[in-house]
Subunit: 221 residues, 2 copies
């Protein structure tokens, strides 16, 4: 049985979960409190991070390397665009969300509001929370600009770029930090992704100490 070591509110794990589910690859989800640095877990991934995917006798780390591997080894349905230019744009956007959005928004909001409590590293830093709340607006505006020209973030086809973005936004939505009224096109785009069967497991996530808000799993949010 394939196994994914993950943490429910990790956008990097969610990106991989979406990709696996879209390709109908079954995995057992194993929750890993990776910051506790369990020696067994560190043996599986010396980088000490989730996700870690065990498929057969292979153990793989790094969400982007895993998603590219899944495209390579399980190409249907394709989550990579068909042209080199399309694939470039997709990879640029995956990096945009996983690097820039993550640093400017996710770590500032999730990191302060959730991970400090879960990891026991003190109270949220309100300067970071404010900076994250401000930065998410610009990112939603950037997505609006992209989606005004395209059906999906990287082009006319759903791709890993959409999954990367939805992975971050869905984590933030779990703590009610996304203002869906800011952009109709972004809300419509998220509604399309949210209603996919691949999204169900993410909508079922529950984190102790952080009850799921009512709108989170509602397809008519």
């Amino acid at each position: 049985m394939n196994r994914l070591y993950h943490y429910p509110l990790s956008p990097f794990c969610r990106k991989v979960r979406l990709s696996l589910a879209e390709k109908k690859i079954e995995v057992e989800l194993v929750e890993e409190r990776y910051w506790e640095k369990d020696p067994d877990f560190l043996r599986r991934n010396p980088a000490g991070k989730v996700p870690v995917l065990k498929m057969g006798n292979r153990t793989m780390a790094d969400s982007t390397a895993i998603c590219e591997y899944l495209e390579d080894a399980h190409p249907t349905p394709a989550l990579l665009p068909a042209t080199p230019e399309g694939r470039y744009e997709m990879r640029r956007l995956v990096a945009w969300f996983d690097d820039k959005f993550n640093a400017e928004v996710t770590t500032k909001l999730m990191g302060e509001r959730v991970f400090r409590k879960v990891m026991g590293t003190g109270y949220p830093d309100s300067t970071n929370v404010k900076a994250g709340a401000k930065a998410i607006k610009y990112h939603i505006d950037y997505m609006t600009w992209l989606l005004d020209q395209r059906r999906w973030l990287a082009g006319d086809q759903m791709s890993l770029a959409d999954f990367a973005a939805a992975a971050h936004l869905s984590c933030l939505d779990y703590i009610s930090d996304v203002d869906w009224n800011r952009s109709e096109v972004v809300k419509d785009w998220y509604a399309k992704i949210k209603s996919r069967p691949a999204f169900r497991s993410i909508l079922a996530d529950q984190v102790p100490g952080f009850p799921q808000p009512a709108h989170y799993a509602d397809l008519d949010f």
Copy 2:
């Protein structure tokens, strides 16, 4: 004419420069002091970082997305391994160097010793410098472990993983922060890369205020 907006001591730019040179794609190098946030430059890349590659009428950002594009659109010589498993390992290692090595070593040493001076953001923080000097040892040991089993970092073929690693190490070598005596296999591996024609432009780099040390461009270091 293709144009690469870069900064000489940026490992991300060096990775792209190596890839372009190995594929014999000529580019004009344009030095970009990206932290000064010139509006023209921000228009080319809203993420505000180098490298930015202009090829024909396309402008591309993000070093990994650019390198993957070059493999896609200019596949010869291949810097991607031939199998999905090989490509996974290569991508894992590129992320290892560009994320983990960068955070633990490059930003701690280059960031403090060079960029603070160049950007005018104060004196080096000695705690960071010490942490970086300690972390590079573990990373060289990890490379030794890999190279004891393989000719190149990701397998039997030179790949983008080697270029990512060499890009970081060559920047650190410019400020004499690599102890080549720590590992013979790592030194041999670096000597092989360093002697490639693709490396010449990197060995010719000069940064005002930081004279090139004698061993830096010496193939017999």
